[in-house]
Protein backbone atom coordinates (compact mmCIF):
# COMPACT_ATOMS: atom_id res chain seq x y z
CA UNK A 1 0.00 0.00 0.00
CA UNK A 2 1.04 3.53 -0.58
CA UNK A 3 3.20 4.47 2.41
CA UNK A 4 2.84 8.19 1.83
CA UNK A 5 -0.83 8.07 2.68
CA UNK A 6 -1.47 7.77 6.38
CA UNK A 7 -4.60 5.81 7.31
CA UNK A 8 -7.29 8.31 8.24
CA UNK A 9 -9.25 6.04 10.57
CA UNK A 10 -8.27 4.43 13.80
CA UNK A 11 -8.81 0.84 12.73
CA UNK A 12 -6.57 -2.16 12.48
CA UNK A 13 -5.80 -2.13 8.79
CA UNK A 14 -4.57 -5.68 8.92
CA UNK A 15 -7.97 -6.94 10.02
CA UNK A 16 -10.39 -5.09 7.74
CA UNK A 17 -10.25 -4.41 3.99
CA UNK A 18 -9.14 -0.91 3.10
CA UNK A 19 -8.55 0.67 -0.30
CA UNK A 20 -7.75 4.08 -1.69
CA UNK A 21 -9.71 5.07 -4.77
CA UNK A 22 -9.14 7.93 -7.20
CA UNK A 23 -12.23 10.03 -7.70
CA UNK A 24 -11.12 11.26 -11.12
CA UNK A 25 -11.08 7.87 -12.89
CA UNK A 26 -12.65 5.50 -10.27
CA UNK A 27 -9.40 3.45 -10.20
CA UNK A 28 -8.13 1.78 -7.04
CA UNK A 29 -4.69 3.21 -6.32
CA UNK A 30 -3.81 1.39 -3.07
CA UNK A 31 -5.01 -1.53 -0.97
CA UNK A 32 -4.03 -3.26 2.26
CA UNK A 33 -4.44 -6.61 0.44
CA UNK A 34 -7.62 -7.80 2.17
CA UNK A 35 -10.13 -6.87 -0.49
CA UNK A 36 -8.08 -9.01 -2.90
CA UNK A 37 -8.65 -12.01 -0.64
CA UNK A 38 -12.34 -11.25 -0.42
CA UNK A 39 -12.98 -11.07 -4.16
CA UNK A 40 -10.14 -13.34 -5.26
CA UNK A 41 -7.86 -11.31 -7.57
CA UNK A 42 -5.90 -8.11 -7.94
CA UNK A 43 -7.70 -4.84 -7.32
CA UNK A 44 -5.04 -2.15 -7.75
CA UNK A 45 -5.48 -0.40 -11.07
CA UNK A 46 -9.03 -1.68 -11.56
CA UNK A 47 -12.12 0.55 -11.59
CA UNK A 48 -14.13 0.19 -8.38
CA UNK A 49 -17.31 0.37 -10.46
CA UNK A 50 -16.34 -2.97 -12.02
CA UNK A 51 -15.96 -4.57 -8.61
CA UNK A 52 -19.27 -3.40 -7.19
CA UNK A 53 -22.55 -5.22 -7.66
CA UNK A 54 -24.24 -3.22 -10.42
CA UNK A 55 -27.79 -3.71 -9.17
CA UNK A 56 -27.25 -2.52 -5.67
CA UNK A 57 -24.05 -0.58 -5.30
CA UNK A 58 -22.77 1.19 -8.40
CA UNK A 59 -24.98 4.16 -7.80
CA UNK A 60 -23.65 4.33 -4.27
CA UNK A 61 -20.17 5.01 -5.53
CA UNK A 62 -21.55 7.99 -7.45
CA UNK A 63 -23.20 9.14 -4.24
CA UNK A 64 -19.96 8.78 -2.30
CA UNK A 65 -18.24 11.03 -4.83
CA UNK A 66 -21.13 13.50 -4.83
CA UNK A 67 -21.19 13.49 -1.04
CA UNK A 68 -17.58 14.64 -0.95
CA UNK A 69 -18.35 18.26 -0.18
CA UNK A 70 -20.62 17.54 2.75
CA UNK A 71 -18.59 14.54 4.01
CA UNK A 72 -21.36 13.55 6.37
CA UNK A 73 -19.39 10.80 8.08
CA UNK A 74 -22.07 8.24 7.24
CA UNK A 75 -21.25 4.61 6.65
CA UNK A 76 -21.84 3.22 3.16
CA UNK A 77 -23.23 -0.28 2.68
CA UNK A 78 -21.60 -1.78 -0.38
CA UNK A 79 -22.03 -5.14 -2.10
CA UNK A 80 -19.08 -6.47 -4.09
CA UNK A 81 -19.46 -8.68 -7.13
CA UNK A 82 -18.47 -12.30 -6.85
CA UNK A 83 -19.72 -15.45 -5.21
CA UNK A 84 -22.83 -15.48 -3.07
CA UNK A 85 -20.79 -15.06 0.15
CA UNK A 86 -20.13 -11.48 -0.96
CA UNK A 87 -23.77 -10.59 -1.22
CA UNK A 88 -24.20 -9.41 2.33
CA UNK A 89 -23.54 -5.68 2.26
CA UNK A 90 -20.39 -4.51 4.02
CA UNK A 91 -20.30 -1.15 5.70
CA UNK A 92 -17.46 1.16 4.66
CA UNK A 93 -16.47 4.57 5.84
CA UNK A 94 -15.43 7.02 3.15
CA UNK A 95 -12.78 9.63 4.00
CA UNK A 96 -11.42 12.10 1.47
CA UNK A 97 -7.82 13.18 1.59
CA UNK A 98 -7.78 16.93 1.77
CA UNK A 99 -6.46 18.49 -1.39
CA UNK A 100 -6.31 15.29 -3.35
CA UNK A 101 -8.84 13.42 -5.43
CA UNK A 102 -8.61 10.18 -3.52
CA UNK A 103 -10.95 8.59 -1.01
CA UNK A 104 -10.19 5.99 1.64
CA UNK A 105 -12.74 3.20 1.85
CA UNK A 106 -12.22 1.16 5.02
CA UNK A 107 -14.64 -1.47 6.23
CA UNK A 108 -16.17 -0.98 9.64
CA UNK A 109 -15.67 -3.86 12.00
CA UNK A 110 -19.07 -5.43 12.44
CA UNK A 111 -20.29 -7.55 15.31
CA UNK A 112 -20.76 -10.97 13.70
CA UNK A 113 -23.00 -12.22 16.51
CA UNK A 114 -25.42 -9.36 16.00
CA UNK A 115 -25.40 -10.04 12.28
CA UNK A 116 -26.05 -13.75 12.85
CA UNK A 117 -28.86 -13.03 15.27
CA UNK A 118 -30.49 -10.57 12.97
CA UNK A 119 -30.29 -13.18 10.19
CA UNK A 120 -32.01 -15.69 12.46
CA UNK A 121 -34.74 -13.23 13.36
CA UNK A 122 -35.33 -12.48 9.73
CA UNK A 123 -35.58 -16.17 8.84
CA UNK A 124 -37.99 -16.75 11.72
CA UNK A 125 -40.10 -13.82 10.71
CA UNK A 126 -40.39 -15.12 7.16
CA UNK A 127 -41.25 -18.61 8.32
CA UNK A 128 -43.87 -17.17 10.63
CA UNK A 129 -45.40 -15.21 7.82
CA UNK A 130 -45.47 -18.26 5.50
CA UNK A 131 -47.02 -20.40 8.24
CA UNK A 132 -49.53 -17.73 9.12
CA UNK A 133 -50.70 -17.66 5.51
CA UNK A 134 -51.18 -21.43 5.46
CA UNK A 135 -53.08 -21.12 8.74
CA UNK A 136 -55.38 -18.43 7.38
CA UNK A 137 -56.24 -20.71 4.44
CA UNK A 138 -56.85 -23.68 6.71
CA UNK A 139 -58.96 -21.65 9.08
CA UNK A 140 -61.11 -20.38 6.22
CA UNK A 141 -61.48 -23.92 4.89
CA UNK A 142 -62.59 -25.18 8.31
CA UNK A 143 -65.03 -22.33 8.72
CA UNK A 144 -66.57 -23.22 5.36
CA UNK A 145 -66.66 -26.92 6.29
CA UNK A 146 -68.36 -26.05 9.57
CA UNK A 147 -71.01 -24.03 7.72
CA UNK A 148 -71.61 -27.00 5.39
CA UNK A 149 -71.89 -29.30 8.36
CA UNK A 150 -74.37 -27.01 10.09
CA UNK A 151 -76.42 -26.86 6.89
CA UNK A 152 -76.46 -30.62 6.47
CA UNK A 153 -77.28 -31.12 10.14
CA UNK A 154 -80.21 -28.77 9.86
CA UNK A 155 -81.33 -30.59 6.71
CA UNK A 156 -81.02 -33.92 8.50
CA UNK A 157 -83.09 -32.60 11.41
CA UNK A 158 -85.72 -31.39 9.03
CA UNK A 159 -85.67 -34.70 7.18
CA UNK A 160 -85.93 -36.76 10.37
CA UNK A 161 -88.76 -34.57 11.60
CA UNK A 162 -90.68 -34.63 8.32
CA UNK A 163 -90.11 -38.33 7.77
CA UNK A 164 -91.22 -39.26 11.25
CA UNK A 165 -94.25 -37.01 11.04
CA UNK A 166 -95.23 -38.35 7.60
CA UNK A 167 -94.69 -41.95 8.72
CA UNK A 168 -96.57 -41.54 11.95
CA UNK A 169 -99.79 -40.23 10.41
CA UNK A 170 -100.57 -43.37 8.31
CA UNK A 171 -99.36 -45.49 11.21
CA UNK A 172 -101.85 -43.77 13.49
CA UNK A 173 -104.56 -44.60 10.94
CA UNK A 174 -103.47 -48.27 10.77
CA UNK A 175 -103.71 -48.50 14.56
CA UNK A 176 -107.13 -46.81 14.53
CA UNK A 177 -108.47 -49.11 11.81
CA UNK A 178 -107.18 -52.17 13.62
CA UNK A 179 -108.99 -50.99 16.74
CA UNK A 180 -112.13 -50.30 14.71
CA UNK A 181 -112.14 -53.78 13.20
CA UNK A 182 -111.49 -55.25 16.62
CA UNK A 183 -114.39 -53.33 18.21
CA UNK A 184 -116.85 -53.79 15.31
CA UNK A 185 -116.34 -57.42 14.40
CA UNK A 186 -113.65 -58.65 16.79
CA UNK A 187 -115.97 -60.92 18.68
CA UNK A 188 -117.23 -62.53 15.49
CA UNK A 189 -113.76 -63.42 14.20
CA UNK A 190 -112.26 -66.87 14.61
CA UNK A 191 -109.31 -66.95 16.96
CA UNK A 192 -106.52 -67.03 14.36
CA UNK A 193 -107.45 -63.95 12.28
CA UNK A 194 -108.19 -62.19 15.54
CA UNK A 195 -104.65 -62.85 16.72
CA UNK A 196 -103.37 -61.40 13.41
CA UNK A 197 -105.26 -58.23 14.19
CA UNK A 198 -103.63 -58.05 17.59
CA UNK A 199 -100.22 -58.47 15.94
CA UNK A 200 -101.00 -55.60 13.50
CA UNK A 201 -101.78 -53.33 16.45
CA UNK A 202 -98.70 -54.40 18.45
CA UNK A 203 -96.30 -54.08 15.52
CA UNK A 204 -97.72 -50.68 14.57
CA UNK A 205 -97.12 -49.45 18.11
CA UNK A 206 -93.59 -50.80 18.00
CA UNK A 207 -92.95 -49.03 14.75
CA UNK A 208 -94.13 -45.78 16.28
CA UNK A 209 -91.68 -46.23 19.16
CA UNK A 210 -88.90 -46.89 16.67
CA UNK A 211 -89.72 -43.77 14.70
CA UNK A 212 -89.64 -41.70 17.89
CA UNK A 213 -86.33 -43.30 18.79
CA UNK A 214 -84.80 -42.50 15.40
CA UNK A 215 -85.87 -38.92 15.77
CA UNK A 216 -84.27 -38.74 19.20
CA UNK A 217 -81.11 -40.38 17.87
CA UNK A 218 -80.86 -37.88 15.02
CA UNK A 219 -81.13 -34.95 17.41
CA UNK A 220 -78.43 -35.96 19.86
CA UNK A 221 -75.45 -33.69 20.05
CA UNK A 222 -77.20 -30.90 18.23
CA UNK A 223 -79.77 -30.01 20.78
CA UNK A 224 -78.60 -27.08 22.80
CA UNK A 225 -78.33 -28.07 26.39
CA UNK A 226 -76.80 -26.06 29.16
CA UNK A 227 -74.39 -27.22 31.79
CA UNK A 228 -75.13 -27.11 35.51
CA UNK A 229 -73.37 -28.28 38.63
CA UNK A 230 -75.07 -31.50 39.73
CA UNK A 231 -74.51 -34.27 42.28
CA UNK A 232 -74.10 -37.35 40.10
CA UNK A 233 -75.11 -39.60 43.05
CA UNK A 234 -78.35 -37.68 43.48
CA UNK A 235 -79.06 -37.81 39.72
CA UNK A 236 -78.50 -41.59 39.67
CA UNK A 237 -80.67 -42.19 42.74
CA UNK A 238 -83.53 -40.23 41.16
CA UNK A 239 -83.11 -42.29 37.98
CA UNK A 240 -83.28 -45.55 39.90
CA UNK A 241 -86.46 -44.38 41.68
CA UNK A 242 -87.97 -43.48 38.33
CA UNK A 243 -87.08 -46.89 36.85
CA UNK A 244 -88.72 -48.59 39.85
CA UNK A 245 -86.75 -51.87 39.60
CA UNK A 246 -88.49 -55.08 40.74
CA UNK A 247 -87.89 -55.89 44.41
CA UNK A 248 -85.58 -58.81 43.60
CA UNK A 249 -83.03 -56.48 41.95
CA UNK A 250 -80.37 -54.96 44.20
CA UNK A 251 -78.85 -51.71 42.92
CA UNK A 252 -75.86 -50.27 44.77
CA UNK A 253 -74.13 -46.90 44.27
CA UNK A 254 -70.55 -46.63 45.49
CA UNK A 255 -69.76 -43.66 47.75
CA UNK A 256 -68.88 -40.88 47.30
CA UNK A 257 -70.21 -39.83 43.91
CA UNK A 258 -68.76 -36.63 42.39
CA UNK A 259 -70.49 -33.29 42.16
CA UNK A 260 -69.47 -31.63 38.89
CA UNK A 261 -70.54 -29.41 36.05
CA UNK A 262 -72.43 -31.53 33.50
CA UNK A 263 -75.10 -31.42 30.88
CA UNK A 264 -77.69 -33.14 33.01
CA UNK A 265 -80.16 -34.31 30.35
CA UNK A 266 -77.69 -36.35 28.25
CA UNK A 267 -76.09 -37.68 31.43
CA UNK A 268 -79.50 -38.95 32.57
CA UNK A 269 -80.27 -40.43 29.12
CA UNK A 270 -77.05 -42.46 29.19
CA UNK A 271 -77.54 -43.93 32.66
CA UNK A 272 -81.28 -44.46 32.23
CA UNK A 273 -80.50 -46.67 29.23
CA UNK A 274 -77.62 -48.53 30.88
CA UNK A 275 -79.55 -49.14 34.12
CA UNK A 276 -82.76 -50.20 32.41
CA UNK A 277 -80.76 -52.60 30.20
CA UNK A 278 -79.10 -54.07 33.29
CA UNK A 279 -82.52 -54.52 34.88
CA UNK A 280 -84.07 -55.94 31.72
CA UNK A 281 -81.25 -58.44 31.07
CA UNK A 282 -80.88 -59.68 34.67
CA UNK A 283 -80.43 -63.18 35.96
CA UNK A 284 -83.49 -64.98 37.34
CA UNK A 285 -82.57 -64.56 40.99
CA UNK A 286 -80.15 -62.59 43.13
CA UNK A 287 -79.70 -59.91 40.43
CA UNK A 288 -77.18 -57.24 41.48
CA UNK A 289 -76.19 -53.98 39.74
CA UNK A 290 -73.40 -51.79 41.01
CA UNK A 291 -72.50 -48.26 39.85
CA UNK A 292 -69.03 -47.02 40.77
CA UNK A 293 -66.84 -44.11 39.72
CA UNK A 294 -63.10 -43.44 39.38
CA UNK A 295 -61.25 -40.14 38.97
CA UNK A 296 -59.18 -40.12 35.76
CA UNK A 297 -57.72 -36.58 35.73
CA UNK A 298 -59.75 -34.94 32.98
CA UNK A 299 -62.60 -37.44 33.11
CA UNK A 300 -64.83 -39.38 35.46
CA UNK A 301 -65.03 -43.09 34.65
CA UNK A 302 -68.46 -44.44 35.65
CA UNK A 303 -68.89 -48.21 35.61
CA UNK A 304 -72.27 -49.96 35.55
CA UNK A 305 -71.61 -53.62 36.39
CA UNK A 306 -74.21 -56.38 36.62
CA UNK A 307 -74.21 -60.09 37.32
CA UNK A 308 -76.57 -60.89 34.43
CA UNK A 309 -76.08 -63.37 31.57
CA UNK A 310 -73.42 -61.20 29.90
CA UNK A 311 -72.85 -60.58 26.22
CA UNK A 312 -71.22 -63.11 23.87
CA UNK A 313 -67.90 -61.89 22.45
CA UNK A 314 -69.32 -62.00 18.91
CA UNK A 315 -72.00 -59.46 19.90
CA UNK A 316 -69.88 -57.02 21.86
CA UNK A 317 -69.11 -54.72 18.91
CA UNK A 318 -72.55 -55.01 17.35
CA UNK A 319 -74.52 -53.92 20.41
CA UNK A 320 -73.74 -50.23 19.63
CA UNK A 321 -75.44 -50.40 16.23
CA UNK A 322 -78.83 -48.87 15.51
CA UNK A 323 -81.73 -51.36 15.89
CA UNK A 324 -79.47 -54.09 17.18
CA UNK A 325 -81.25 -56.10 19.87
CA UNK A 326 -81.17 -59.61 21.21
CA UNK A 327 -84.90 -59.34 21.98
CA UNK A 328 -86.64 -58.06 18.82
CA UNK A 329 -90.03 -58.62 20.49
CA UNK A 330 -89.85 -56.03 23.24
CA UNK A 331 -86.97 -53.74 22.35
CA UNK A 332 -86.41 -51.16 19.64
CA UNK A 333 -82.67 -51.82 19.76
CA UNK A 334 -81.91 -48.13 19.97
CA UNK A 335 -80.80 -47.79 23.61
CA UNK A 336 -77.09 -48.52 23.33
CA UNK A 337 -76.82 -46.73 19.98
CA UNK A 338 -78.20 -43.66 21.77
CA UNK A 339 -75.77 -44.13 24.65
CA UNK A 340 -72.79 -44.26 22.32
CA UNK A 341 -73.92 -41.28 20.30
CA UNK A 342 -74.55 -39.17 23.38
CA UNK A 343 -71.24 -40.08 25.01
CA UNK A 344 -69.37 -39.39 21.74
CA UNK A 345 -71.05 -36.02 21.39
CA UNK A 346 -69.93 -35.16 24.94
CA UNK A 347 -66.34 -35.93 24.01
CA UNK A 348 -66.33 -39.10 26.13
CA UNK A 349 -66.04 -42.81 25.44
CA UNK A 350 -68.05 -45.90 26.29
CA UNK A 351 -66.87 -49.53 26.45
CA UNK A 352 -68.23 -52.90 27.38
CA UNK A 353 -66.43 -55.87 28.94
CA UNK A 354 -68.23 -59.10 29.47
CA UNK A 355 -67.65 -62.80 29.96
CA UNK A 356 -70.83 -64.67 29.09
CA UNK A 357 -72.38 -66.05 32.26
CA UNK A 358 -70.48 -63.57 34.40
CA UNK A 359 -72.26 -60.30 33.84
CA UNK A 360 -71.35 -57.17 31.92
CA UNK A 361 -69.41 -54.02 32.81
CA UNK A 362 -70.24 -50.83 30.90
CA UNK A 363 -67.65 -48.07 31.39
CA UNK A 364 -68.57 -44.49 30.58
CA UNK A 365 -65.71 -42.00 30.42
CA UNK A 366 -67.38 -38.62 30.94
CA UNK A 367 -65.40 -35.33 30.66
CA UNK A 368 -65.24 -33.30 33.88
CA UNK A 369 -65.62 -30.13 31.82
CA UNK A 370 -68.73 -29.77 29.69
CA UNK A 371 -68.61 -28.93 25.99
CA UNK A 372 -67.79 -25.31 25.18
CA UNK A 373 -71.19 -24.84 23.52
CA UNK A 374 -72.95 -25.88 26.71
CA UNK A 375 -70.86 -23.49 28.79
CA UNK A 376 -71.36 -20.55 26.45
CA UNK A 377 -75.10 -20.98 26.30
CA UNK A 378 -75.43 -20.64 30.05
Amino acid sequence: MNAELAPPLVVDLNAWPGIVVSVTDDRIVASNGLLEKLIGGAVIGRAITDLLDPESSRRKWERIVADRASDSGRGWELVFRGGSSLLEPRTFSASFDSGSDTVWLVEHPMDKRVAAMSGQMEALNSELSTTQRALVKEQARLAAALKDLERSNAALDEFAHAASHDLKAPLRAIIDYAELIESEVGNDLPEEPRSYLARVAALSLKMRRMIDAVLEYARIGRLSSSAEVADSGQVLRELIDFLAPPSDVQIELSQPMPVFEMERVPFEQVFRNLLSNAIKYRRAEDARIRVSVADENLNWRFVVADNGPGIPASQQQRIWGLFHTSRPGDSTGIGLALVKRIVDSQGGQVFVESTPGNGARFSVVWPKTPRAAARVSR
Binding site: K60, E77, G83, L87, A140, A144
Partner: protein
Amino acid sequence: MIESGQFLDALVRGDRRAADRLVDGLLDRGEGLEHVYLEVVQPAMSEVGRLWQENELTVAEEHLATAITQAVMGRAFERVYRWHDSRTPSLIAACVDEERHQMGLRMLCDLLELDGWDTSYLGASVPIEALVSMVEKREPEAVALSATISPHLPRLRAAIEAIRGSKVATQPLIIAGGRALAGDAALASRLGADLTAKDAGEAVEMLRSRVSRAHR
Protein backbone atom coordinates in the same frame (compact mmCIF):
# COMPACT_ATOMS: atom_id res chain seq x y z
CA MET B 1 -49.60 8.06 -4.70
CA ILE B 2 -50.41 9.59 -1.30
CA GLU B 3 -51.23 6.29 0.42
CA SER B 4 -48.06 4.69 -0.82
CA GLY B 5 -46.09 7.68 0.51
CA GLN B 6 -47.77 7.39 3.91
CA PHE B 7 -47.06 3.67 3.98
CA LEU B 8 -43.43 4.36 3.13
CA ASP B 9 -43.25 6.91 5.98
CA ALA B 10 -44.50 4.28 8.40
CA LEU B 11 -41.92 1.77 7.11
CA VAL B 12 -39.06 4.25 7.34
CA ARG B 13 -40.09 5.19 10.89
CA GLY B 14 -40.36 1.48 11.72
CA ASP B 15 -43.93 2.16 12.87
CA ARG B 16 -45.86 -1.05 12.40
CA ARG B 17 -49.05 0.23 14.01
CA ALA B 18 -49.21 3.15 11.62
CA ALA B 19 -48.74 0.78 8.67
CA ASP B 20 -51.52 -1.48 9.98
CA ARG B 21 -53.84 1.48 10.56
CA LEU B 22 -53.28 2.77 7.06
CA VAL B 23 -54.07 -0.58 5.41
CA ASP B 24 -57.03 -1.21 7.75
CA GLY B 25 -58.40 2.19 6.72
CA LEU B 26 -58.08 1.33 3.03
CA LEU B 27 -59.86 -2.00 3.47
CA ASP B 28 -62.56 -0.34 5.61
CA ARG B 29 -63.12 2.08 2.76
CA GLY B 30 -63.76 -0.86 0.44
CA GLU B 31 -60.42 -0.93 -1.40
CA GLY B 32 -59.43 -4.40 -2.55
CA LEU B 33 -56.32 -6.35 -1.69
CA GLU B 34 -55.07 -5.79 -5.23
CA HIS B 35 -55.07 -2.03 -4.67
CA VAL B 36 -53.34 -2.40 -1.29
CA TYR B 37 -50.66 -4.70 -2.65
CA LEU B 38 -49.97 -3.20 -6.06
CA GLU B 39 -50.66 0.50 -5.48
CA VAL B 40 -49.53 0.93 -1.88
CA VAL B 41 -47.19 -1.81 -0.65
CA GLN B 42 -45.25 -2.54 -3.84
CA PRO B 43 -44.30 1.07 -4.71
CA ALA B 44 -43.36 1.72 -1.08
CA MET B 45 -41.06 -1.32 -1.01
CA SER B 46 -39.38 -0.32 -4.30
CA GLU B 47 -38.81 3.06 -2.74
CA VAL B 48 -37.25 1.38 0.32
CA GLY B 49 -34.84 -0.38 -2.05
CA ARG B 50 -34.02 2.91 -3.76
CA LEU B 51 -33.45 4.63 -0.42
CA TRP B 52 -30.96 1.93 0.50
CA GLN B 53 -29.14 2.55 -2.78
CA GLU B 54 -29.14 6.24 -1.97
CA ASN B 55 -27.62 5.32 1.39
CA GLU B 56 -30.60 6.89 3.16
CA LEU B 57 -31.49 3.57 4.81
CA THR B 58 -29.31 0.83 6.27
CA VAL B 59 -29.76 -2.86 5.61
CA ALA B 60 -31.15 -3.21 9.13
CA GLU B 61 -33.79 -0.58 8.40
CA GLU B 62 -34.63 -2.27 5.11
CA HIS B 63 -35.08 -5.58 6.93
CA LEU B 64 -37.36 -3.96 9.47
CA ALA B 65 -39.44 -2.47 6.66
CA THR B 66 -39.70 -5.94 5.09
CA ALA B 67 -40.76 -7.53 8.37
CA ILE B 68 -43.44 -4.88 8.91
CA THR B 69 -44.69 -5.30 5.35
CA GLN B 70 -44.91 -9.09 5.72
CA ALA B 71 -46.96 -8.68 8.89
CA VAL B 72 -49.25 -6.06 7.34
CA MET B 73 -49.83 -8.27 4.29
CA GLY B 74 -50.63 -11.22 6.53
CA ARG B 75 -53.24 -9.19 8.38
CA ALA B 76 -54.79 -7.79 5.22
CA PHE B 77 -54.98 -11.22 3.58
CA GLU B 78 -56.60 -12.71 6.67
CA ARG B 79 -59.21 -9.95 6.63
CA VAL B 80 -60.32 -10.35 3.04
CA TYR B 81 -59.82 -14.07 2.43
CA ARG B 82 -62.86 -16.32 2.17
CA TRP B 83 -62.75 -19.99 1.30
CA HIS B 84 -64.68 -21.15 -1.69
CA ASP B 85 -64.92 -24.72 -2.87
CA SER B 86 -63.80 -26.18 -6.20
CA ARG B 87 -60.51 -24.35 -5.99
CA THR B 88 -58.94 -24.62 -9.40
CA PRO B 89 -56.60 -23.94 -11.03
CA SER B 90 -53.71 -24.36 -8.64
CA LEU B 91 -50.30 -22.77 -8.32
CA ILE B 92 -47.14 -23.63 -6.40
CA ALA B 93 -44.77 -20.76 -5.66
CA ALA B 94 -41.20 -20.95 -4.36
CA CYS B 95 -38.04 -18.88 -4.21
CA VAL B 96 -35.05 -20.82 -5.44
CA ASP B 97 -32.57 -18.74 -3.46
CA GLU B 98 -32.23 -17.76 0.14
CA GLU B 99 -33.69 -14.35 -0.38
CA ARG B 100 -36.30 -14.09 2.30
CA HIS B 101 -38.14 -10.97 1.31
CA GLN B 102 -40.11 -12.60 -1.49
CA MET B 103 -43.04 -10.27 -1.30
CA GLY B 104 -43.67 -10.43 -5.02
CA LEU B 105 -44.43 -14.16 -4.90
CA ARG B 106 -46.51 -13.76 -1.81
CA MET B 107 -48.55 -11.02 -3.49
CA LEU B 108 -49.01 -13.19 -6.58
CA CYS B 109 -50.27 -16.10 -4.46
CA ASP B 110 -52.62 -13.99 -2.35
CA LEU B 111 -54.16 -12.19 -5.33
CA LEU B 112 -54.72 -15.41 -7.29
CA GLU B 113 -56.16 -17.00 -4.18
CA LEU B 114 -58.84 -14.31 -4.08
CA ASP B 115 -59.60 -15.18 -7.71
CA GLY B 116 -60.38 -18.74 -6.60
CA TRP B 117 -57.01 -20.35 -7.28
CA ASP B 118 -55.54 -22.84 -4.85
CA THR B 119 -52.04 -21.53 -4.21
CA SER B 120 -49.26 -22.94 -2.07
CA TYR B 121 -46.57 -20.48 -1.10
CA LEU B 122 -43.51 -22.45 -0.05
CA GLY B 123 -41.26 -19.54 0.87
CA ALA B 124 -37.51 -19.31 0.51
CA SER B 125 -34.74 -21.90 0.12
CA VAL B 126 -37.02 -24.73 -0.97
CA PRO B 127 -34.93 -27.80 -1.88
CA ILE B 128 -35.44 -28.73 -5.53
CA GLU B 129 -36.40 -32.35 -4.71
CA ALA B 130 -39.10 -31.11 -2.31
CA LEU B 131 -40.42 -28.77 -4.97
CA VAL B 132 -40.56 -31.57 -7.58
CA SER B 133 -42.31 -34.00 -5.26
CA MET B 134 -44.88 -31.31 -4.43
CA VAL B 135 -45.43 -30.69 -8.14
CA GLU B 136 -45.90 -34.43 -8.75
CA LYS B 137 -48.33 -34.72 -5.85
CA ARG B 138 -50.49 -31.71 -6.64
CA GLU B 139 -50.09 -31.47 -10.42
CA PRO B 140 -50.60 -27.69 -10.43
CA GLU B 141 -51.55 -25.75 -13.55
CA ALA B 142 -48.73 -23.30 -12.88
CA VAL B 143 -45.48 -22.98 -10.94
CA ALA B 144 -44.05 -19.57 -10.05
CA LEU B 145 -40.35 -19.33 -9.24
CA SER B 146 -38.29 -16.36 -8.33
CA ALA B 147 -34.62 -15.49 -8.05
CA THR B 148 -33.39 -12.25 -6.63
CA ILE B 149 -29.73 -12.21 -7.54
CA SER B 150 -27.88 -13.28 -10.65
CA PRO B 151 -25.63 -15.90 -8.97
CA HIS B 152 -28.78 -17.89 -8.26
CA LEU B 153 -29.86 -18.11 -11.90
CA PRO B 154 -28.20 -21.54 -12.36
CA ARG B 155 -30.28 -22.78 -9.45
CA LEU B 156 -33.38 -21.39 -11.09
CA ARG B 157 -32.46 -23.22 -14.30
CA ALA B 158 -31.91 -26.45 -12.34
CA ALA B 159 -35.30 -26.10 -10.65
CA ILE B 160 -37.03 -25.56 -14.01
CA GLU B 161 -35.25 -28.57 -15.54
CA ALA B 162 -36.24 -30.74 -12.56
CA ILE B 163 -39.89 -29.71 -12.91
CA ARG B 164 -39.77 -30.43 -16.66
CA GLY B 165 -38.52 -33.91 -15.80
CA SER B 166 -41.23 -34.56 -13.18
CA LYS B 167 -43.80 -37.32 -13.58
CA VAL B 168 -46.98 -35.39 -14.23
CA ALA B 169 -49.77 -35.87 -16.75
CA THR B 170 -49.63 -32.26 -17.94
CA GLN B 171 -46.60 -30.02 -17.55
CA PRO B 172 -47.34 -26.91 -15.49
CA LEU B 173 -46.89 -23.47 -16.95
CA ILE B 174 -43.70 -22.09 -15.41
CA ILE B 175 -43.47 -18.39 -14.69
CA ALA B 176 -40.17 -17.02 -13.45
CA GLY B 177 -39.56 -13.62 -11.95
CA GLY B 178 -37.59 -11.67 -9.42
CA ARG B 179 -34.99 -8.94 -9.59
CA ALA B 180 -32.41 -11.26 -11.22
CA LEU B 181 -34.64 -11.57 -14.29
CA ALA B 182 -36.14 -8.08 -14.24
CA GLY B 183 -38.91 -9.22 -16.57
CA ASP B 184 -36.37 -10.10 -19.31
CA ALA B 185 -38.37 -12.56 -21.43
CA ALA B 186 -35.32 -13.68 -23.43
CA LEU B 187 -33.36 -14.54 -20.28
CA ALA B 188 -36.35 -16.32 -18.72
CA SER B 189 -36.94 -18.40 -21.83
CA ARG B 190 -33.20 -19.27 -22.07
CA LEU B 191 -33.55 -20.65 -18.54
CA GLY B 192 -36.54 -22.74 -19.65
CA ALA B 193 -39.44 -20.72 -18.23
CA ASP B 194 -42.64 -20.18 -20.22
CA LEU B 195 -43.33 -16.71 -18.92
CA THR B 196 -41.78 -13.90 -16.97
CA ALA B 197 -43.22 -10.80 -15.39
CA LYS B 198 -41.63 -7.68 -14.03
CA ASP B 199 -43.81 -7.62 -10.93
CA ALA B 200 -46.66 -9.36 -9.14
CA GLY B 201 -49.34 -7.32 -10.91
CA GLU B 202 -48.08 -8.34 -14.34
CA ALA B 203 -47.73 -11.97 -13.26
CA VAL B 204 -51.33 -12.01 -12.00
CA GLU B 205 -52.58 -10.62 -15.32
CA MET B 206 -50.54 -13.13 -17.33
CA LEU B 207 -51.68 -16.14 -15.33
CA ARG B 208 -55.28 -14.97 -15.33
CA SER B 209 -55.36 -14.79 -19.13
CA ARG B 210 -53.13 -17.78 -19.90
CA VAL B 211 -54.65 -20.26 -17.48
CA SER B 212 -58.26 -19.12 -17.62
CA ARG B 213 -58.50 -20.08 -21.31
CA ALA B 214 -57.69 -23.69 -20.51
CA HIS B 215 -59.68 -23.99 -17.32
CA ARG B 216 -62.88 -22.04 -17.34
